[in-house]
């Protein structure tokens, strides 16, 4: 393939590869972001707990040589989906294409967040938050009928609007706490329900 890369001319338009740094990865930031730069794994967030694997697979399998593996995020206690997953491609280029062209677009009527991930390892599919869900659901200020129903730290009575303002919606959903300006994501440990 041609090595021409016009995109590099507009460096100032480049976003950082990811806004998220997983402190529990036991990697330094340099190591972490290097792994992301060669990763073949994506993290999908803000999924509805009712979105099926087939729906995710149908969309993301359209990229390149297709999906190598799909690992749904689950509640360790209940085994139920908690609204995120990992998608592994066969090569970095396919993962990049999915990241570039599917991020913040709708699947099952929700704007999904597609972010780079350092790679799946056993246990990372479990939520690290209250009751085995994702941390961000513990800090949710407004109720979301498509996300795990977590009792603690709930809201001010604003009704949740699933339809409008994709980027704003995704940002609002992801706008929780975590120190150091990095956003929290997901999970821990293993199960066999099959």
């Amino acid at each position: 393939m041609s090595n021409l890369n016009a995109a590099s001319l507009y460096e100032n338009l480049q976003q950082p590869i990811s806004q998220y740094y997983d402190k529990s990865s036991n990697l330094t930031r340099e190591e972490y972001f290097y792994k992301l730069s060669i990763s073949t794994t994506l993290y999908l967030g803000n999924l509805s707990i009712y979105t099926t694997e087939e729906q995710i697979f149908e969309l993301f399998n359209r990229v390149g040589a297709g999906v190598r593996r799909l690992i749904m995020g689950r509640n360790k206690e209940t085994g139920k989906a908690i609204g995120f997953c990992f998608i592994e491609y066969f090569n970095h280029e396919d993962a990049k294409e999915a990241h570039e062209y599917l991020d913040l677009l709708k699947l099952d009527e929700r704007a999904i967040r597609v972010d780079w991930d350092i790679g799946y390892s056993e246990g990372r599919e479990y939520g690290r938050g209250t009751g085995g869900n994702q941390v961000r659901d513990s800090y949710r200020k407004v109720a979301d009928p498509e996300r795990p129903n977590v009792q603690s730290n709930r809201g001010r009575g604003r009704s949740y609007n699933n339809n409008g303002g994709r980027r704003k919606q995704a940002d609002d959903d992801e706008s929780d706490n975590s120190g150091g300006g990095y956003k929290k994501r997901g999970g821990n440990r293993s199960n066999n329900n099959y």
Binding site: S2, L9, N12, Q14, E54, F57, Y194
Partner: protein, 691 residues
């Protein structure tokens, strides 16, 4: 490679940004902005620092090579710099530096670099920096290359250059230029291929033929005057002072072995098309070529590709009708690329196109109604003889509709469905679009957005999330109970051996049916259960592998013939596990067609096989790609194609044949040459050799 930003001195960063961002503020402030850039660059050049001079030269060359939209801008800046004594040598060095890149053109896989450099050189000629005679000489070089080459690589560069050079060339060097046009006419007549080159040539020829009548020239000049590409028209006085670089140059033509194929254009969007004359608007063709270039150059970064398209719209002062034409050309070009199903090496996925279409439409949200109408126009004109086109298009549109708040004309799409024509291609199109749409979004969530008659119709279709029923119900119940106990492979085998009141083949078949039902619960079930059970079935003395493969394929077809999704997923999984082989798949397909199964079921299988073969090739993981196997597959497919009366099935079989031959070439180049010699069709050979 550009240096990491924080290590680069600020003035060099500033120069780089200044050159790269030239013209980005918009057409209203062009003149002022370009003048300012010239002044600032002049000041920096006067400081006489070598690294600053080098940065200027390198930045100009990089941008000239990679930003085709701005060729005119950079030519204008260089022309203005050449009118000042202090910066004349800078202009010379930049041009000479760029000419050193000419040999690189032949080394590239695609003509894109050649196109962009030649476009820039033509603009340098237009501003008077390059001699017309030298420029026309290099067109002769390209024409010579085009004559002697099997693929239209040099022809593409030549044809895409002509629209930008022709007015000046006709003015200053008419005889030689007309000679080139006549030679190109001969080349194009010999070609006989209707693709993007053909349409581009038609538009050039029509423009030149109409020039005497002056109407087209005037329109074109008008377009140039207000347009982003040629801002030197804003500096008429300065352009008379441009100092020409007296230097000839040649394009080294190297004999290339690799074939390059231009894109097909299956659906045209010419405003000025008449049935008799086939007039093709050159403005559309120039825009179309620019869209191809931009996608090729910026495809790795969505933000920037969208930025480039926005730049085009912001900086060219388009009238409402020009805006509508640009929008139509953009949508038609993208969708034409989606439906180009004949394999290409540089093929992008439907997710790329749907994602790009969505992001572009979101930035044009005021015109979303017009966007959707244009998409509908495209579908109305789409070829009606290829189910792979339907598959690609339904992938793209289902995703697009999910992201456009479902503001589609439901009645228009659903109106294509005719319940009295069970096998019609339009019915298949409607079913595919809605199936994929309602797979990406649960119908329950959008009941207020979808007309009730469509939901009722959809609910009557076979549910693609559920397999069809078992044949041996009581046996299936028994086997299901074993599956629920989560027995491992050996334990399961022991249990199956105890079932003596049924033929062993029936037991295996029913077991596979039960397994297929279990694995259909989720992708995770598929991964876990298929590895758990299928690996033990492959062991010697249990069942012959060929037999297992046959039963597996028959079972998949029986239970999932209504769902392309499941066919694709299972074929891929079982190929990876080596439960089935490519040869078995082709034999299975042959049987299905011979049995005269329902057409839509055959289409589903064809689509699934094409997809699976294509993905195998992308990964270089083609199963059992030996000469003997591929030869046998090729022979079977050739016979099927020759015997097939239905052109829809035939075209899909041809595609599948291409996929397997391409896969063979990628994995076993030397042996594939042997097989290629036996293939009669030149077109097929060319397609394979382009990989």
């Amino acid at each position: 490679m550009l240096q990491i930003q924080h290590q680069t001195p600020p003035e060099i960063n500033r120069i780089r940004q200044l050159i790269c961002r030239a013209g980005d503020e918009g057409a209203d402030t062009f003149k002022k902005d370009l003048q300012k850039i010239v002044d600032v660059l002049g000041e920096y050049y006067q400081q006489n620092k070598q690294e600053v001079k080098d940065a200027m030269i390198q930045s100009f060359i990089q941008c000239a090579k990679l930003l085709p939209l701005k060729s005119g801008i950079y030519a204008t800046i260089l022309a203005l710099l050449s009118t000042k004594q202090i910066t004349q040598s800078l202009t010379d060095q930049i041009i000479l530096g760029l000419l050193e890149h000419l040999p690189q053109i032949a080394q590239e896989e695609t003509p894109i670099l050649g196109q962009t450099i030649l476009k820039f050189l033509s603009e340098l000629m237009n501003v008077g920096l390059l001699n017309t005679v030298s420029f026309v000489e290099c067109l002769y070089d390209l024409e010579g290359g085009a004559e002697n080459e099997q693929s239209p690589f040099y022809l593409q560069i030549l044809l895409t250059t002509i629209p930008h050079a022709m007015i000046k060339a006709m003015e200053k060097n008419q005889i030689e230029f007309k000679n080139i046009i006549q030679n190109v006419e001969v080349l194009m007549t010999k070609r006989k291929t209707e693709d993007r080159l053909f349409h581009l040539w038609q538009s050039i020829r029509n423009f030149l033929n109409n020039q005497e009548k002056d109407a087209h020239t005037q329109i074109f000049q008008q377009f140039l005057k207000t347009s982003y590409p040629r801002p030197y028209l804003l500096f008429p006085d300065e352009m008379t002072q441009v100092r020409q670089l007296r230097r000839g140059f040649k394009i080294p033509i190297v004999k290339r072995t690799q074939i390059w194929r231009p894109q097909q254009i299956l659906v045209l969007n010419d405003e000025i098309r008449s049935q008799n004359n086939n007039k093709t608007d050159i403005q559309i063709e120039i825009t179309r070529q620019w869209i191809y270039e931009t996608i090729d150059l910026f495809k790795t970064n969505r933000q920037q590709i969208v930025f480039q398209f926005q730049l085009y719209q912001n900086c060219i002062k388009l009238s409402p009708s020009q805006e509508a034409q640009f929008r139509q050309t953009l949508i038609f070009t993208l969708l034409n690329m989606v439906i180009e199903v004949i394999p290409r090496k540089d093929q992008l996925s439907t997710a790329f196109y749907s994602g790009l279409l969505i992001h572009l439409s979101q930035r044009n949200s005021d015109n979303i109604k017009e966007w959707n109408e244009t998409i509908e126009q495209f579908i109305d004109l789409m070829p009606q003889n290829n189910i792979l086109i339907i598959e690609q298009l339904s992938d793209c549109l289902s995703h697009y509709f999910c992201n456009s708040n479902f503001k589609l004309n439901w009645d228009k799409f659903f109106g294509k469905y005719n319940p009295d024509e069970t096998d019609s291609i339009n019915n298949y199109l409607v079913i595919m679009i809605f199936r994929k749409l309602f797979l990406l979004v649960s119908v329950d969530k959008i009941t207020d957005l979808v007309p009730k008659n469509i939901i009722d119709w959809y609910n009557q279709l076979q549910d693609i999330t559920k397999p069809l029923d078992f044949e041996q119900i009581s046996l299936a119940e028994k086997i299901n109970s074993y599956l629920q106990q989560k027995l491992n492979g050996i334990e399961m085998l022991e249990q199956l051996k105890l079932i003596t009141n049924h033929n062993p083949d029936i037991v295996i078949q029913t077991f596979l049916e039960c397994l297929l039902q279990c694995i259909s619960k989720s992708i995770t079930h598929l991964n876990v259960l298929s590895k758990r059970y299928l690996s033990f079935l492959l062991q010697p003395n249990i069942i012959k592998p060929e037999k297992l493969g046959e039963i597996m394929l028959q079972t998949i077809f029986r239970m999932w013939n209504h769902s392309v999704f499941h066919l694709k997923v299972y074929l891929k999984e079982f190929l990876n596990l080596e439960v089935i082989s490519n040869l078995q798949i082709i034999n299975w397909l042959n049987d299905i067609i011979k049995q005269k199964s329902d057409n839509f079921k055959i289409y589903n299988v064809l689509i699934a096989i094409n997809d699976v073969f294509r993905k195998q090739t992308k990964l270089d993981q083609v199963q059992d790609c030996t000469y003997e196997n591929v030869k046998e597959i090729n022979t079977i497919l050739t016979q099927m194609i020759e015997q097939e009366q239905d052109i829809i099935i035939q075209s899909s079989l041809e595609n599948i044949q291409l996929q397997i031959l391409i896969a063979f070439k990628s994995t076993n180049g030397s042996q594939s040459e042997k097989l290629l010699k036996e293939i009669k069709s030149t077109q097929i050979k060319q397609i394979i050799m382009s990989f």
